[in-house]
Amino acid sequence: MSAVTVPKADGGVVLTLLRAREIGIALLIALVVLVTALHNSHFVDSNSVQQLLSGAALIALLGVGETLVIITRNVDLSVGSVLGLSAYVVGDLFKYHHIPVWSGFVIGTLVGVAAGTLNGFIVTALRVPSLVVTLGMLYVIRGIDGVIVNGDRIDPESIPNAFTAVGYRTLFGIPWLAIIVAVLVAVAGFAMRSFRASRDLYAIGSNPDAAALAGVPIQRRVFSAFLISGTLAGFAGALFLALHTQIDNSGGIGYELSVVAAVVVGGVAIFGGSGTVVGAALGALLLNTINQALVASRISAFWNQAIAGALLLAAIAFDRWLSLRVTKSLRSAEGAHREL
């Protein structure tokens, strides 16, 4: 019964729609694209659209893992460093050891598995706050990366063509990179809805004590979340190399904050318990679209970062406002129900 009264209580078809965060973001993306395209038709040229999708795909992929981690009330700040290390290791092996193309992806992913395992182990087995652990790992991994790189640089000539093809090939005009990530996001999105283990992540983030009492194996689940985040970051490193075709010790610097920003804009609550990977991926796409739109509009490039920051703040504030409205409407609906 109360389910019927909820939307009525605050006149909220719009509100209900807005609660489906993904729709709101998709509309926003469409709006940005439309307005920019009206100003500058080159914005929707296949070339620039492909560039936009490829760039967003990497952040979206990192965002999938980050979403899982943040849903459990943790955070993984090491993803940018893991991506950089993985990308360089793969490039190095191509240049000096001429490994086969497929193993580039496998090895990149394995670098991520190792980092994710270490993060997960320290956070869950030693019960140390993840913000501090992954901040420490951000430095350690970046440092290890630098030691391995040792001033070197991998140039496009050293990387097999079949590998970089993943970065530039398209299918029906859509970059492979975007398709790969879209499939992964879809799989993760389905998994996050359908499996018990993934619902456990939400339970842990909503109320850890209750989850423990309900028999959720908290440490194992959180460990898995970090493992997946690391694994995806490692895989993203290989994709990064395929896309940019060159790498030194600076790959992925600062990505951690872009990823957290995309995830938060995508409607994942920073304190855990709610959000979807599809939302996070759309958040990444929105932020990248806005960046490209600012470039395409004749607004000076110097404004990019300021506007991105302001939008991020607006997104967080809007989210809060929305959740307050929803809570209020739920409360009043509950109250009405009780009076009956």
């Binding site: 955070v75 182990f121 320290i122 869950t124 087995a125 030693l126 019960r127 140390v128 706050p129 913000l131 501090v132 652990v133 901040l135 420490g136 790992m137 951000l138 430095y139 350690v140 991994i141 970046r142 440092g143 290890i144 990366d145 630098g146 030691v147 790189v149 440490q219 010790n249 610097i253 600062g254 904050l257 957290v260 920003a261 938060v264 920073i270 304190f271 000076s300 110097f302 404004w303 990019n304 970062q305 300021a306 506007i307 991105a308 920051g309 302001a310 991020l312 703040l313 967080i316 504030a317 809060r320």
Partner: protein, 357 residues
């Protein structure tokens, strides 16, 4: 009235203080985080003096101050903010924005003091923006300050673009002012920024440990609801702490301008994580309510002197990164020492039990 009411909220704390003062055995009292930091500091200094022949030069102390002073200044308000269970990741961007504001106004012919005043004002306004969003609207500070990190750095970029001030045709910054950045206090090897840090550290220490305001911060960090019921104005306190953080970061921006005698928009890029690392390594709990200014000061000394020594020994910045990260990991793993070890063993045993054979 409010201090009477505050008693229940701080009782846990007070009793902890009492027990550590009177009942606990001496070894236990000595086994504080700060004691460990002192030992580490002595170890670092000894190791560095043996390894690097130039480390014992008096000028090392000076360069230590020059390189560390403006970062350390940001660590103090960060300590307060983290103490209350929040975090401010926008500090380094505010440093950049403040420095860029000075550069922008100087470029447009302003008087240097007026430019400084505006830069500090920008710090207050930026801090107030963080404060309003966190305290008034109840938004998570980690998300808000990632947003303002981007915003402030973006505004700095808007102000200066690709210019480095002073650029061609500009006046140089007043010599006697930039001398403050690169000269030591006459007759000593102490840099001006280090002196400023020490004075500020004493003030922050007194506020945190000896004044009701500081105890209130501890209470807020330990139990915000209880602190609220005890009559502490939690929201107002957090708001002003963010303002303080913005102001001090802007001040650090002025210090860095004086030191480098030039400004570009990306000055101090990425320093926010260094500041957080220093504070956490100093023993301040990321969950709030625990930590001392003494610990943070020792942490500044360790991180700064380690960096000096490693640079003198031609250790690459990459290896220095590893050292920073490992210090940070140690700082959270060691305090849980026995506990963590027991858990780790249990974890391994459980894993082993899962594997057949």
């Amino acid at each position: 009235m409010s201090s009477d009411l505050a008693t229940p909220a701080t009782r846990k704390d007070a009793s902890a203080a009492k027990s550590s003062g009177a009942r606990e055995p001496v070894w236990r009292r000595a086994a504080r985080w700060e004691t460990g930091l002192v030992a580490v500091l002595i170890g670092v200094l000894l190791w560095a003096s043996i390894k690097s022949p130039t480390f014992t030069d008096p000028s090392t102390a000076f360069y230590f101050g020059v390189n560390t002073g403006y970062i350390a200044v940001m660590a103090l308000p960060m300590t307060f903010v983290v103490m209350t269970g929040e975090i401010d990741l926008s500090v380094a961007s505010m440093l950049g924005l403040s420095a860029s504001m000075v550069g922008y106004l100087w470029h447009h012919g302003w008087n240097i003091w007026a430019a400084f005043a505006v830069a500090l004002l920008v710090g207050v306004v930026g801090g107030a923006l963080n404060g309003v969003l966190v305290a008034r609207f109840g938004l998570p500070s980690i998300a808000v300050t990632i947003g303002t990190l981007t915003l402030f750095r973006g505004l700095a970029e808007v102000l200066l673009g690709s210019l480095t001030i002073p650029t061609i045709g500009d006046r140089q910054f007043p010599q006697w002012l930039t001398n403050i950045g690169v000269n030591s206090i006459p007759g000593t090897q102490v840099s001006w920024s280090m002196l400023i840090f020490i004075v500020l550290a004493v003030i922050f220490g007194v506020v945190l440990h000896l004044m009701p305001l500081g105890r209130a911060m501890v209470a807020v960090g330990l139990q915000p609801e209880a602190a609220q019921f005890a009559g502490i104005r939690v929201k107002r306190m957090k708001f002003w702490l963010f303002v303080l953080s913005g102001l001090m970061s802007a001040f650090a921006g002025i210090l860095v301008t004086l030191q480098q005698a030039s400004v570009s928009y990306n000055v101090g890029n990425g320093l926010e994580l260094t500041v957080v690392a220093i504070v956490l390594f100093g023993g301040v709990s990321i969950f709030g309510g625990r930590g001392t200014i003494l610990g943070v000061v020792l942490s500044v000394a360790i991180v700064g002197s380690l960096q000096m020594a490693l640079t003198q020994l031609n250790v690459s910045s990459d290896k220095q990164n590893i050292v920073t990260g490992v210090l940070l990991l140690i700082s959270v793993i060691v305090p849980n020492g026995g506990e963590a070890l027991r858990r780790a063993r249990e974890f391994v045993r459980r894993r082993a039990a899962h594997e057949p054979g």
